[in-house]
Symmetry: C2
Subunit: 431 residues, 2 copies
């Protein structure tokens, strides 16, 4: 079997075909490489490509028994993850050519599951706001460029462009959900603490989460099963009627007409088919955005102390500004902030009373024009702060024909249920 | 001023003298180097010493304005922390000669505060049970050797032997409190999430905490102020009568006569001077030890996937066994374990009802004889799992003349109060 349209084949399907020896890992890889040849000069999703290594690996996998869940699936790895056989720059010129001694735990787990790591995908500088060269693959090179979102810019663009079926990302503010939304793919941010961060450049102890991208919920769940080690995540049989809370959030006034239209569309479908009710903002919920910003600034300034103190001139103006904000927060204020985070994480349970999941915007609208910024993580910050699992579902188009969608949020630790409902909802919204 | 007894000078006092230019950083360093010359061949606390670098640094600090809290203080850094200018082996031969690209965030913060990093201290292999060569400094080379405890073996031994006034450590089971107890110094494990782990070899997302060692509570608080960024931690004025819960814990039957004697001694003093009451075990509390073990095994097997999958033959039998236990835990079981951890972290509040802190054993007794094991973290596992801050207080001797003490535990985030009470209690127990 040859793969004509690698941008349409789903990872779980490809894995089944490879497992039955009806598809060769080498042919799937070749289809991805063809797509890269076609689009990469324009999209620039990769910071580093290892074509020879990937070919050798695919050949070896075609000659090996199938054991892992990702056997033969090409994978893009955000350049915030350490890789022992490829450079790892964390999106910063300070680390140009840097070669870590070991793979990140998650990277080693994906390899052990049979993934073919095709390369490192572009991250913004230390996963903050200073963008790499990646452009949104939904506009062609002769059209005005739009951002793919950030910070997992390259991973989202590579999956959306059909260069890889799966890719790894991380989220500290909105770095999985936002690029998934702008690029029109599924993004999955697991519950805080459910995926090892070993060998990932750490930014914020309170916020960092590793997750990934696929073209459908089933693909994101497949990747999530490997990252968490919980293979049950792949079982997406939602049998009961989902109970969905419609949570516009205090940031709703910032949602533009494209996001509002997607909201109306989803609401029309889901109020018919699911058990929906509106959820109003708990008092003080709107303050979580500012709290997330302050916690992130303080913790990034600490985590990146070496870079801040030794390599200041090698940093972008954006991250210099973040560090200036971070070091101005006192340690006592940060301790008080962490107590507030703890308090809100307990209170968050109440949002879900009588509900399975919440539906809420992912972004203010379509991917903004230009490549000098990666858009606003506004609608993600509070959920990241609460540590709750999130899945972005793409299903609509905005006024420029770019993707728009919404995210579903689950209780902490309810990833299995969240993914099952996300799949259920996505089936109904995509049509 | 020359320093005759560097094993007795306290860090906070030395910092004051240096700030007043009554003591030179170079002289304090020389006193530490003299002590190293005298004892290191026997104690073997250091995996790497950078004498020239430390001398140059002390000289530079003597010629610079005093700004940071640790100006001129020699510091030992556990070899689990990355250092850009020294090898970082994580206690494993796999990483022999490994030289990271950057300092750990905490190391950079200590440098910025003026610390003189004298070297890397011995860690057990990946901070688990396979010991390095370090021996407990409380026995001389012609006497039978006792373990210094682990995994922060070298840091605790170096402080206890007077080689450095302060040292960094980490705790995933009992790796700060246990070696502090066996070596007879103060160990401080901050609240989970209050110290950045960037650039520390990660083992367990749920458990890892960085902290440190000093010879008195004030020194541990000084180091804690730098590690957390919360300078208020140094203010140790406990004005009200502390309310102390006496919590023998479900592991009490494993406390030997030395720990029991220390307990009786502390109880006699504190029931006189503080507001004490017995706290009984909540139902199920005893199960936390097994829960901690299972969470640690699963998460270490994931975090160290690269080492487990690529370097199996370079691992000790102990850690191979741990990984075998870890990979046998299913992801679904781990998710259930994490839910239980969350539940218990909320329930832990109730232990402190009407109390400020809990007093509880640190270890089963004195440092065991021999260097083939590092003792049992039994009395620490539950507190690490709960993420609560802990301070070990040395104040007694066991039947072999080795140190014995107890630990105080605070509510999550109550580090300031815990340290103040620890200082108050320590003053009263030391006499």
């Amino acid at each position: 079997m040859t793969v004509k349209q690698p941008d349409q084949i789903e990872a779980w399907k490809a894995a089944e075909l490879i497992a039955r020896r009806e598809l060769k890992a080498q042919d799937l890889l070749q289809a991805c490489l063809d797509k890269i040849n076609e689009r990469e000069s324009d999209v620039q999703a990769f910071a580093h490509l290892d074509v020879d290594g990937a070919r050798a690996r695919a050949r070896a996998l075609d000659n090996s028994p199938v054991s892992g869940l990702l056997h033969g699936l090409p994978l893009g790895v955000k350049d915030l993850f350490d890789t022992a056989d490829m450079p790892s720059t964390y999106g910063s010129s300070i680390y140009a050519g840097h070669r870590p001694a070991a793979d990140a735990g998650t990277v080693a787990m994906c390899r052990a599951a049979g993934a073919v790591i095709l390369g490192k995908t572009v991250s913004t500088e230390f996963a903050y706001f200073s963008p790499g060269p990646t452009r949104n693959p939904h506009t062609r090179g002769d059209q005005p460029a739009h951002t793919p979102g950030g910070s997992s810019s390259g991973s989202a663009a590579a999956v959306a462009a059909g260069m890889v079926p799966l890719a790894l990302g991380t989220q500290t503010a909105g770095s999985i959900i936002r690029p998934a939304a702008y690029c029109g793919i599924v993004g999955y941010k697991p519950s805080l603490g459910h995926v090892t961060l070993a060998g990932i450049k750490l930014l914020s102890r309170t916020l960092d989460v590793a997750g990934g991208f696929g073209r459908c919920v089933r693909d994101a769940a497949l990747l999530g099963a490997v990252l968490t080690g919980d293979h049950d995540l792949r079982q997406l049989d939602q049998r009961s009627t989902p109970r969905i809370g419609l949570f516009r959030s205090p940031s709703w006034p910032q949602a533009d007409t494209d996001t509002q239209a997607a909201w109306e569309q989803a609401q029309a479908v889901l109020t018919q088919q699911a058990a929906c009710r509106d959820v109003s903002d708990p008092a003080g919920f709107g303050d979580l955005v500012a709290l997330q910003k302050e916690v992130m600034a303080f913790e990034m300034a600490q985590a990146l102390s070496h870079e801040r103190l030794v390599h200041w001139s090698g940093l972008s103006h954006q991250i210099q500004q973040l560090f200036e904000i971070g070091v101005a927060v006192t340690g006592a204020q940060h301790a008080a902030n962490l107590a507030l985070v703890r308090h809100w994480r307990m209170r968050a349970e109440a949002l879900f009373e009588g509900l399975d999941v919440l539906l809420t915007p992912s972004t203010t609208g379509e991917a903004p024009a230009g490549l000098s910024a990666t858009g606003d993580p506004l609608f993600c910050r509070s959920w990241t702060l609460l540590g709750l699992p999130a899945v972005h579902l793409p299903f609509a188009k905005g006024r420029h024909g770019l993707p728009v969608g919404l995210q579903l949020i689950g209780r902490h630790g309810s990833d299995h249920q969240l993914l099952a409902i996300a799949d259920w909802v996505h089936q109904r919204l995509k049509v």
